[in-house]
């Protein structure tokens, strides 16, 4: 039976109609397992999301940025989960969330563009592979559909296998991050600066900022696309706004509230399929261990990643913790990566979809072929 539920033409005003809809493949699914990748574009601060409050150097490095950790959820003697991640904390308690700290892709510089290219392509360096590891994974799941919950297919999902993309026709407002950046750009412009100030005031009044509503809706939308026998098995959600160079406490809390709502909305929407689901949350790199002078953090190296879902063997934090003492930092400034993010991804996916770990590693990350992790990450 063909089901056209996933035939979704994004017909938003603008340029929608000039972009051909990707060809849709209808076939019997080969697996009941689901995999959703939520990418955090902009380098999310793992040291604030999963705070190493048990590390003696933490409070001193972070200063006021350590504030929110005081009200977070203590997961073990070392780590505290950010208080905005209330739903995720419940998943952790239900052993459906597993957090991995001090992770990094093979990329070691600090450009968002290049870092995301490596994270999504799965190559050993930037601009070396033209397709993404999620598309290569899809190639191992004949008949299964992939979907991007965004206006266009992101690099991670691009490749030989056709993939759908869907975004609501009334596209959301410009992201808060872009709004902030535009504000910076206009600040010194005599004409645009004041206009922008007025625009933001009006926007704030309308209550667009930090409501959490958008996140829940996005999660529910992803669930609609991925639930049931005909649902897509592989999906991707793009989130922006993690590049918190200033005003980090407030911005990050708002970002995490959205992310938490997205995951909760996805879980609720999936219903019974949640038990077959793996959600990966990851970013291109981490942020500096020390707070900067503008209430934020700058581009760093080691980050954290999350595995969530009914299929995850959760309730643990996996970290070969390098420590935050001055001598332990990477380049003297960043959290030193001790776990290979690619290895984590390859291992989790191999366990989730029942693929041979070494083969999966070579297929998804053909240039680095990371050695599979020893830990049991998934129940199945």
């Amino acid at each position: 039976m063909l089901d056209r539920r996933n035939f979704l033409a994004a017909t938003s005003a603008g340029v929608a109609t000039l972009l051909a809809n990707p060809r849709l493949a209808f076939a019997r699914a080969s697996t009941d397992k689901r995999f959703l990748f939520i990418i955090q574009r902009g380098a999310a601060d793992g040291l604030a999301i999963l705070a190493p409050t048990g590390d003696a150097a933490y409070a001193g490095l972070r200063g006021d940025l350590a504030r929110d950790a005081a009200t977070g959820t203590k997961l073990d003697t070392m780590f505290t989960l950010h208080p905005a991640l209330a739903e995720s904390a419940k998943l952790f308690a239900a052993k459906q969330a597993l957090f991995v700290h001090a992770v990094a892709s093979p990329y070691r510089d600090r450009s968002h563009f290049d870092g995301q290219n490596v994270l999504e392509s799965g190559a050993g360096g930037a601009y070396r592979l033209k397709d993404g590891w999620m598309n290569r994974l899809l190639g191992q799941l004949p008949g299964d559909k992939g979907i991007a919950l965004s206006p266009a297919v992101p690099l991670a999902l691009r490749g030989a296998i056709p993939v759908e993309s869907y975004a609501p026709s009334a596209l959301p407002d410009a992201g808060d991050d872009l709004m902030l950046r535009v504000g910076d750009l206009y600040a010194k412009d005599a004409q645009l600066g004041p206009l922008w100030h007025q625009a933001l005031a009006a926007r704030e009044k309308a209550g667009d900022l930090a409501s959490g509503k958008g996140g829940a809706a996005l999660g529910a939308l992803a669930a609609r696309q991925m639930s049931g026998p005909d649902g897509a098995r592989i999906g991707m959600i793009e989130t922006n706004g993690w590049d918190t160079h200033s005003g980090q406490n407030g911005r990050l809390a708002a970002q995490l509230k959205q992310l938490d709502a997205t995951i909760a909305g996805f879980r609720t929407g999936l219903g019974a399929d949640w038990s077959n689901t793996l959600v990966l949350v990851a970013t291109e790199f981490g942020r500096t261990a020390k707070a900067n002078g503008t209430g934020g953090t700058d581009h760093g190296t080691g980050a954290m990643a999350m595995l969530m879902g009914g299929a995850v063997a959760g309730g643990r934090v996996i970290a070969d913790w390098p420590g935050l003492a001055p001598g332990a930092l990477y380049d003297g400034r960043d959290l030193k990566p001790t776990t290979d993010l690619d290895a984590l991804v390859a291992s989790a996916l191999a366990q989730h979809f029942g693929l041979d770990p070494a083969r999966a590693s070579g297929l998804l990350f053909p240039e680095t072929r990371p050695a599979p992790l020893a830990q049991r990450l998934m129940i199945g």
């Binding site: 938003s12 005003a13 603008g14 340029v15 929608a16 109609t17 000039l18 972009l19 574009r41 902009g42 380098a43 450009s111 968002h112 563009f113 995301q116 965004s150 206006p151 266009a152 596209l171 407002d173 410009a174 992201g175 991050d177 872009l178 709004m179 950046r181 535009v182 910076d184 750009l185 206009y186 010194k188 412009d189 004409q191 645009l192 206009l195 922008w196 007025q198 625009a199 009006a202 926007r203 922006n240 706004g241 993690w242 590049d243």
Partner: protein, 474 residues
Amino acid sequence: MVSTNFAENRFGLGARADEPTASGDPRGWASEQLSRFEPHVAGIPDSRSVAIELADYFQQRAMTKRTAQAAAPAATMMTPASMPAKAPKTPEMMAARVAGREAYATLVGARINSALTTPTPFAERLTHFWANHFAVSAAKATTVGFAGLLEYEAIRPHLMGRFEDMLVAVEQHPAMLFYLDQATSVGPNSALAQRGRNKKGLNENLAREILELHTLGVRTGYAQADVTEFARALTGWTVAGISRGPASRFVTGEPGQFAFVDGLHEPGDRTIVGRRYRSGGEEQARAVLADLAVHPATARHIATKLARHFAADDPPPVMVARLEAAFLKSRGDLPTVYRALLASPEAWDPANVKFRNPWDWTVASLRAVGLKRIDGDATAALLTQLGQPVWRPDSPAGFDDIAAAWAGPDALVRRVEAAQRLALRAGQGLDARTVAPRILGASLTPATATAIARSESPATGLALMLVSPEFLRR
């Protein structure tokens, strides 16, 4: 000396990411386009087809009205209030309306796609300039299909010709004749009015706007008497194949073409703006247009608007004087005026900046991300969101050509939203760090370059480029 990239933005439609900057002399880049411009555009409807659809619509409307009136007495016997105020629309009427909207969307698509791929962007800019100078609005049922055609049938063919020829073609185009109500203007002493065949009277709308907007300019010394006399001279100017009512059988000609109906014309000699015009049918108003087209006030008016469009909101007086002189000396030879424009150092001064209006900004953005095709409906919707609906200005004065009209808080947010959408949908594989120097050239500021380089994703970088202060201006 500025670069060709500067010329692409100031005189053209913006640089394209997928095309290298043309080498050589920037002024030559613009001026050589004057001889290469291709006025003809294939694959669009014409006034004849739009007129036939519109005539069907009017016929249907008249028929439904008659049917409703015939049926009315029975219905009104009991409760007069229940009489329908308006006759219901028939499927045929709906279809005719849809046809007009389809013509509009097709023409919007043709306009944007020409703008994206044209080999002569300076000439396209001039086309857009003149279409706004001779503004008509697609908001009326009678003009929705015709409005865009004015640009293709009256402006483009004369873009590289004489102002007088463009003026006459515009005033005789069905879009203008309907928009400013000339098509139904009747001389009170015309033969048909005298015989009681046409109850409508004189309409001054077109006469006034020709003087105020198209030629001399507002407050240039003409009086109400000039407007009225000119309106009388214009009576009889109408459109063939669409007119309804008792006079329609006197209108001959191809549907949608200009027609002169002597029976509607107000006879008599008359004086307009200080000149005497002998009684002479169609030729009377035609002679008035010929004089207006080369009037010194017209030269100043056009020179001011061109300088405002290409150089600065407050046009430099020296430049206006230069264009005015070129216009007068050549008796309105448009390429001569364009060459004077290109020869004006004020237009090449990077200190003189213009805030791009939504149309210019959209075209420049689509070109910057390398798009070559976009659908007309999507374009129309986007421009409506951005506040400048294509061929639908609020008044015959057209869209304003100053920053104050476009640089507003809400307008900026809408551009940011549109830029983000565009960057996400169309910007795949583009790296703003390398695209921005190509698009913005010397105007790219270190602040913008840094902001792009620091943006958290390629799409954000591209969106930032599109809404950067230097991209919003040209």
